[in-house]
């Protein structure tokens, strides 16, 4: 594989997403370089979550392509995209509340280790070994995100801050190359926000590429290498934090431009 191709983990080209008459994304182009933290910001309704949903396969785009490691994925179902190596979290926490903290992370290993229906019904030795392996790697992840001592608790019982961390942990369990975090700091207090942003940095240090939607500008400016700014489904700025911060179009979009 050529190094040039390898440089961009994700390439979005001419992406269009319409809902009825509403254009949520219009002709969007951008790339995500391997190994960086890229933040997507923009006012409410700018199309950030829609973009995430299209990338991770919740619904196919109206037009355009999404390439992951050089192969187009925009036609694939969500679980197939997860198989390829993209994982995500949700803006409103979507944990499996009926399961324990550990089980949530173990479920995240689903793309890596699978047991067939028959093998699980007859408890073949191989399926038992697989379970053990999943459990060990899930415990390791819980240690990494700092929830190891709560592994037995029901996921529902955690405070919001820890639920957000657990969602990140579950997403990590599939060992993705690209992880999409949808507002990981939303609703968190200052301490929790700090924990979340150091965790994101630690994930990135492990070599994972991070795509981040976030409203907390302190978090965004502190941890991201690049920022993409959307407004009404269109790109209005892209680049390193300091450039974006000073872009008149961005200031305009956020402050409601009379200028």
């Amino acid at each position: 594989m050529s190094t040039v191709k390898d440089e961009n983990v994700l390439e979005v080209q001419k992406l269009v997403m319409t809902f009825g008459g509403l254009m949520a994304l219009s002709n969007l182009n951008f790339q995500v370089k391997r190994g960086i933290i890229k933040a997507i910001i923009g006012p409410n309704g700018a199309g950030k979550t829609t973009l995430f949903n299209v990338i991770t396969g919740s619904f196919p785009p109206t037009d355009g392509t999404v390439r992951f490691k050089g192969r187009s994925i925009q036609h694939l179902k969500a679980h197939k995209i997860a198989d390829r190596g993209i994982s995500r979290t949700f803006q409103t926490v979507e944990l499996f509340g009926n399961m324990t903290v550990l089980e949530n992370v173990m479920l995240g290993c689903h793309t890596r280790v699978r047991t067939s229906f028959m093998a699980s019904g007859f408890v073949l030795p191989q399926s038992r070994r697989k379970e053990k392996r999943i459990r060990e790697s899930a415990l390791k992840i819980l240690k990494f995100i700092g929830l190891a001592d709560k592994f037995k608790d029901s996921a529902d019982s955690l405070p919001l801050g820890e639920q957000k961390l657990l969602e990140i942990g579950r997403a990590l369990a599939s060992e993705p190359e690209l992880i999409c975090l949808d507002e990981p700091a939303a609703g968190l207090n200052e301490t929790e926000t700090h924990v979340a942003s150091s965790l994101i940095k630690a994930i990135n240090a492990k070599g994972m590429t991070v795509l981040l939607v976030e409203h907390d500008m302190k978090v965004v400016m502190n941890i991201s290498d690049e920022i993409l700014v959307l407004n009404y489904g269109q790109k209005i700025a892209e680049g390193p934090p300091e450039d974006v911060r000073n872009s008149p179009r961005v200031i305009d979009a956020y402050l409601g431009g009379a200028a």
Binding site: T56, G57, S58, K77, A78, H79, A82, D83, S87, R88, F90, E94, L95, F96, G97, N98, M99, T100, L102, E103, M106, L107, G108, H110, T111, V113, R114, T115, S116, F117, A119, S120, G121, F122, V123, S127, K130, E131, I134, R135, R170, A171, A173, S174
Partner: protein
């Protein structure tokens, strides 16, 4: 990890083994072995339904139809074509699997309660077919003369022998299902119940799992149907009507949907209620079932298996 204790399963198996002996000792309950055969047949269906509804969260109101397909395939092939009953049982399960695939594929793709609606309609259609295809099914009069079962020339001609056959199947299905629940497959099923978007984002092929469990539960119902037909040697459509599908729901709701034991307890209790304890109410037994469903939904959302938890809660206070 979700663990289902082994000891109660062993005790339960032991209870099944000695049950006919106990019943024989007490004349007043001698016929309970016969009722337990029916309880076992219903149990096979509720075990599958519990996995489908309680664990995976997919509601079916049409399992009487799969039960009926099993029974009628067995009846028609043995009576009209003289085929071996065991072969008919397998053919019945294969036919049911194919039908479940056909019905499930479009309806499981939809969200919400569409599966419930689709299976409800499907159940009614199959019931009409049993009634109207007189040439094949004998219509409302049903079909008689279905042969009994035998294993290697050993006839299962007594109630007790049939009891062991049926409960052997129940135990096998129970253990298999428990294993599935405790495995990665079971985890994926519970994940689907909690959040479909999160499950598919984690790589779970939601549709494939749903259809797999739907077919599995239908095949168990079909097996139960065949066992029913060969036990009674007679089938007629009224056994497989909509009310039976609802009765199945009442069974797992009463026992507790979110626990596989609920399927066993609910099937056992409702069977004894309808065959033995509700005679006093005659046709008004429907009201009792309605009252049970109502009270359980309001006061025991986790069914009877949830009662120990509630009692424990009282003492902790």
């Amino acid at each position: 990890m979700l663990r289902i204790a082994k000891l109660p399963i062993a005790i339960f198996a032991l209870f099944i083994i000695i049950f006919p002996w106990i019943a024989r000792q007490i004349p007043a309950i001698e016929h309970y072995t016969d009722i337990m055969v029916f309880a076992g047949i219903y149990c096979l269906i509720t075990i599958g339904l519990s996995l489908l509804m309680g664990y995976t969260g997919q509601i079916s109101i049409g399992h009487a139809a799969f039960y009926g397909i099993g029974a009628y395939v067995s009846a028609i092939l043995t009576v009209r074509y003289g085929l071996n009953p065991w072969a008919c049982m397998c053919i019945g399960m294969a036919v049911t699997a194919a039908v479940a695939l056909l019905v499930g594929a479009p309806s499981l793709k939809l969200k919400g309660h569409y599966l419930a609606m689709a299976t409800l309609a499907f159940g009614i259609i199959i019931f009409i077919i049993f009634n109207e295809e007189t040439e094949w099914t004998g219509g409302p009069d049903g079909m008689a003369g279905i042969p009994g079962l035998s294993i290697f020339g050993f006839d299962l001609d007594s109630v007790e022998k049939y009891f062991y056959l049926v409960w052997g199947f129940v135990l096998a299905a129970f253990v298999f299902t428990v294993n599935v629940i405790q495995s990665g497959t079971g985890r994926a099923l519970r994940a689907i119940h909690a959040s479909e978007p999160a499950s598919s984002a984690m790589g779970v092929d939601v549709f494939r799992f749903k259809i797999m469990i739907f077919v599995y539960s239908a095949v168990l119902a079909s097996l139960a149907g065949s066992l029913y037909a060969h036990y009674l040697n007679f089938v007629n459509p009224s056994t497989f009507d909509l009310f039976f599908s609802i009765k199945l729901l009442i069974m797992i709701a009463l026992g507790g949907m979110h626990n596989i034991w609920g399927a066993v307890i609910g099937a056992g209790l409702i069977t004894f209620l309808s065959y033995e304890w509700l005679h006093y109410f005659e046709e008004f037994d429907v009201i009792v079932y309605g009252a049970i469903l109502l009270l359980v939904t309001i006061f025991l959302p986790n069914g009877l298996v949830g009662v120990p938890g509630i009692v424990k809660g009282w003492f902790r206070r």
